[in-house]
Amino acid sequence: MKRQRVAAVLAGAAAVLLPVFVRSQFALDMAILTLFYVGLTAAWNLVTFSGRLSLGHAAFFGLGAYTATLLFVRAGIPPVIGAAVAVVVSLLGGLLMVLVMVRLRGPFFTLASIAFAEVLQLVATHWRSLTDGSVGLHIPFRPGWQNLTFTSKEPYYYIALALAVLSVWLGHRLYHSSTGYFLRAASSDEEACQALGVNIKRAQAAALLWSAGMTGLLGVFYAYFIYVIEPTTFFSMELFSLQPALNGIIGGVGTVWGPVLGALVMTPLGEYLRTFLGAMQQGLHFLVYGLVLLVIVRVLPGGFMSIITGVRARNDDRGSGANERGRSYTAAS
């Protein structure tokens, strides 16, 4: 326990001090992207506590990004207020997905979630009077905190760090709350869970709404980080639906820290491969990335977290508690 706390403090200090020592713009960019994906994966992961797999989180991401950007570009509303409205709009999107979730299970929910994001992408592309369609919207470059626009990378880094911490903290709180117990129980058996008095639909709705709101907030951050928003990027299935899911599965779904590990490993890996192999031969980086994925999934089907929990279980077995099997029932006599 103590060692964990020390490790957390060291990791926190390293994260805070990183921009002081890392001067390379490429490295800093990658750190920002990595933290961004830690946040996004942790937010996506909330839905998996109850065994649901969403491949439509780009919907909330795009809703958040578009809401804040439209408010700023069209009405001059500052991004801080825009972000609050963006979260509300993402939550409304979340409510729509809740309606789907309580009716569909397993792969049917997953397919519906994909369709949900794709439909929103089409709306953003074709509602030109509002969104300028595929031309997209540009956030005017007026540096300053009030516009969330900066001339250096460091502020973006700290905002990404804060959002990542917030997202992981949400997951930690949810996991250890009563709702977290309900969700984990429901991932084994929703019917048995309900028979025990658990209003599982409410718990699942809560998890999805937290997830949607946090994802929308990250959408706002990303819009201000890259200045230009257009439908194919901001409702991108590959970038904001599949990538968090991939990170999460590689790290270990249904855990708090697995998806964090997944994002920490997979984001830099993907970026390095794209930068260094992408120039060599088109598609080569995808090949290598794919091979790495295959190996990880084959060797560690439970994700990175299964290494940690596996070690812990073995340590526990050496103590007491493991020898209690087969004890006969005697209490009532």
Binding site: H176, S177, S178, Y181, F182, R184, A185, S187, S188, D189, E191, A192, C193, Q194, A195, L196, G197, V198, N199, I200, D316, G321, A322, E324, R325, G326, R327, S328, Y329, T330, A331, A332, S333
Partner: protein
Amino acid sequence: MTIGARARTKGGAPTLPLLELHALTKAFRGLVAVQDVNAVLESGEIVGLIGPNGAGKTTLFNLISGLHRPTQGRILLDGREITALPPYARSLLGIGRTFQIVRPFAMTVLENVMVPILARDGNPTRAKDAAQEILELVALDRAANERPENLTLAMRKRLEVARALATRPKLLLLDEVLAGLNPTEVEQQLPLIRVLRDKGITVLMIEHIVDAVMSVCDRVLVMDQGHLIADGSPGEVVRNPAVIQAYLGEEVPGA
């Protein structure tokens, strides 16, 4: 047809039955699994529910616990209509159940028992203590931190009961908690059912082990092909010609 169902009195004043089933019918497309079942459970009774395979026993449990909506008929708990309530609401009102095939959650034994407690009081620390107490009651306390898949079947059945007990039920539906156990294990499990009686919990149990039913039940309901065909004391029921026919078939004349 209403069989049995005499409203008993306590201290002279008539008391409301705990559970009333009125003309309960459940059809799955063409197949009628439960047909026109009327029954009453009084508070504190231990009632057996027996019948050949496919008689509709588990379907009746699913109707009472809310997993299925009846095609027709009404269900009353403490005189209150619960026919349209979802399963979790019925659990909160005091209907607990176990499943024939144990359905533990992929979490520790202690956490399994915490889930129903948390559904009533959301504080994990208090829930942990309360769950520990219930595990002691079913002699699983020393396996609290085990995963259910590491337990014996008998222990997993007790976990199933522990989880149902943690819902603080007025009425507990036990679906074959003795099935699949060897005779020694059955002997060890029976005291648990008497503990339920001592706690004032009304029990409706599906069981195939006739000795067990005879030794713990006050009353027995018999179902066959969706119908309730008998309702009476264990002694009466085993002599009932309709019951014998349901189990053994009709006598062939001249054979």
